[in-house]
């Protein structure tokens, strides 16, 4: 069963109200870091796995990409993406990313933003990406950090006055399914260790070029409620790699 929470009406409506949904990349705390790791898209063929609203597809086109394919499992997400996208060279494909099939070396760059933690098996996806990337091509992806997914609840620990004490680390080496509450709904995600994320790339023909745990940006620290607490735990991991 492949996870497609975003086609759930209630969840989708709530997701649509998030600032990162309404305002796009600029409202995402990790965007500045992610952007700094992206390759030069000029004249390149880009694949976005789990493209959602298509923000990264549009960005690649704005940076001069030759063509973009955005893949997402959710019809609802792609409906919005299609409305937002004016570039004819962007094609959207409604499919679980595990099932897509492209000829060898079809892309110069593969991007995936906060999607791989919905995937039960990481290695087949890595092998697929290796297959479709040309040699020297780039993979850049973000996922929820293993620290954030390990325990399962994704909730802070609070004291009796409701003040945050710390974030709980537990179950780290027990990889697999977690059910976390996101926007008031149960969402299934998959925890895997940092070892698994990085060594799966290294053992499948990738060279790691950068690994970053994005910090909350300075200008958001004081103005966005809760953002200062994000200095206390790593919530995301961004990795860039090239096909050897």
């Amino acid at each position: 069963m492949k996870e497609n929470k975003y086609d759930n009406d209630i969840f989708f409506e709530k997701y649509s109200q998030m600032s990162r949904s309404k305002d796009g990349l600029i409202a995402a705390g990790e965007w500045e870091t992610m952007k700094s790791l992206l390759p030069d898209f000029s004249g390149k063929r880009m694949l976005d796995l789990g493209c959602g609203y298509g923000w990264h597809c549009i960005y690649a086109m704005e940076q001069g990409a030759a063509s973009v394919i955005g893949v997402d499992i959710s019809h609802k997400m792609l409906e919005v993406a299609k409305k937002k996208t004016t570039f004819q060279q962007v094609k959207y494909l409604c499919s679980p990313m595990e099932d897509v099939d492209f000829p060898s070396e079809s892309f110069d760059a593969v991007v995936s933003s906060l999607a791989f933690h919905y995937i039960a098996d990481f290695e087949p996806i890595v092998q697929k990406i290796h297959h479709v990337l040309k040699q020297g091509g780039s993979l850049v992806f973000s996922v929820e950090h293993p620290v954030f997914t390990a325990e399962g609840s994704q909730n802070w620990c609070y004291d009796l006055e409701g003040v945050i004490k710390h974030f709980p680390m537990d179950n780290y080496y027990y990889e697999g399914k977690r059910v976390a509450n996101f926007l008031g709904e149960d969402v299934v995600k998959y925890h895997r260790t940092l070892t698994t994320y990085l060594n799966t790339l290294l053992s499948n023909g990738f060279e790691l070029t950068k690994i970053v745990e994005p910090q909350p940006p300075e200008h958001m620290l004081e103005i966005i409620p809760g953002m200062l607490d994000e200095m206390r735990r790593p919530m995301m991991l961004i990795v860039s790699a090239t096909k050897k």
Copy 2:
């Protein structure tokens, strides 16, 4: 001020009673993982930074190393190392690792076991290692995992009955000094993020070849008290890299 807790009489005596001190590598939960990442030492010149009792120096010689230099800040540790070591090709040097100075490309391999988290600044050490390694040479090191060093106390959270609830994650992005209790003594360590550990290597001429968070070995899980709990948090990080 460079950390030299191991020359403190009381601390040293307590450390000497640990099973990893008495029984060597085989008693260290991470050894099997560390060993699998080490290069072939046959005919090689090896440098061990923070060599302690010299276990890794001796191991390298047993594997056919041509010569080994073990560096440690603690006289007491090196006294024991010298007694344990029968190989004439091993030289021990009592010095903070930050202060050693070797000609360019003097070594084929650099090893460091659980020592870099005592060092305030990581980048100068990485640059030094890059300088003394020959091209294609290996660096393999273990450190306390950023998850383990972040909060500071290195203690589990317990419920009122004294049962472990989880391990606390806090202060992750605030790098720097931590004072943890180890063997009943205050020990100064330095927390740094995974981002810092890995990108400092990547941006100073190293290629990452493997990143492993060693799990407690199967055969220790049931027989060593507390070992099963080590499945709940990553305590160490082992990295192998080569000089590009």
